[in-house]
Subunit: 141 residues, 2 copies
Amino acid sequence: MLTIGKLAEAAGVKVPTIRYYEQIGLLPPPERSAGNQRLYGNRAEERLAFIRHARDLGFPLEAIRDLLSLSDRPDQSCEAADAIARAQLSAVRARIGRLRALEAELERMIGQCAHGTIADCRVIEVLGDHAHCAHEHRKEP
Amino acid sequence: MLTIGKLAEAAGVKVPTIRYYEQIGLLPPPERSAGNQRLYGNRAEERLAFIRHARDLGFPLEAIRDLLSLSDRPDQSCEAADAIARAQLSAVRARIGRLRALEAELERMIGQCAHGTIADCRVIEVLGDHAHCAHEHRKEP
DNA sequence: CTAATGTCTCTAGCAACTATAGGTTCAAGG
DNA sequence: CCTTGAACCTATAGTTGCTAGAGACATTAG
Ligand SMILES: [Zn+2]
Ligand SMILES: [Zn+2]
Ligand SMILES: [Zn+2]
Ligand SMILES: [Zn+2]
C-alpha cells in the first residue's frame, strides 16, 4: 500500500494531480488509513501509469476516460480503442503541420532581419503587415 | 471609426476577444460614442492586426505585450524583438520535435494492432505498459 | 415607432492542472 | 514518551486565452 506521495513519485506525477484525477472520476476513491489518508494498491498504480502514458502521448482526459472504460471490458472488439488512437494520431499530425508552417515563417522573418533599429526590424514589420502572408495560419487549439 | 463588431470582423477575431485584450491592457481603452459604445480608429485596427498575427504565429500574449512596447520605440535596436522571435522559434521547434516522437509511437502502436479484442489490443497494451518505452516523452506545455 | 440587431457589464466556464492556506497525521530522533 | 518536521487533508483560487451566457441599454432599418 502506497501513500499518495509514494504513488506520485512512482508514477512520475505530482500529488495534486492524483487528487485532481480522483475528483474528476478518472481514479476511483482509494482506501483510507485510520487517519484518513489515501492508500493505494497495485490496481491504482497501474491505472495511473496508464493515464500518465496516455497523457504523455497527448490524449485528452476525456479520451483517456473512454480508453479506461474500454479496457475494463476485455472481450469486446478493440475497434473503438483503435479509433481513439487514430483520432489522436491525426490530431498530432495536424498540429505538426501547423507548427511547421509557423516555423517556416518565423525562420524567414528572423533570417531577413538586418538587426538594426526597431523601425527597420523585419520581425516587427512582418507582424504588423496584415496582408503579407498568402498562407492561412490558424488555429492551434 | 469602427464599432467593436466591425473591428472584429475586419481583424478576424471575435468581439469578446477585443474586450478581453482591452481588459488585460493589450489594447488601450478606445473612445466611446454618446451611448457608451466603443469606437476604434486606424491605430487600434493596426494594433489588433499585429496582435492577431503574432497570436497566429503562436506568440504568447506576454511576448506580444513586449513586442508592442518595443514597436513604440522605433529608434532602439531591435535586438530584444529578435530575441523574442528566436525564443518563439525554438519553442515551436521543441514542440515539433516532441510531437514527432508522439506521432511515431502512435503510428507504431496502431500499426501493430491486429484489431481483435480489447484483451489483445496493442493500443491498450502499450498504454498500460509503463516500462515499454526507452524514449522520454514529456512535457508539452 | 417598433422590431431586430448590436453593444454594454458582469459572471462563469473550458482544459488540465498548480499553488496556496490553514489544519491534521505520521514517523523518527532524543 | 514526546516533540518536531515532513507529509497529508480539504477547500479555494490562479494559470492561459479566450468563449458563452444573462439582463439591460443603443442603434438602425423599415
Ligand atoms: Zn530585428
Ligand atoms: Zn503570416
Ligand atoms: Zn486494437
Ligand atoms: Zn511511450
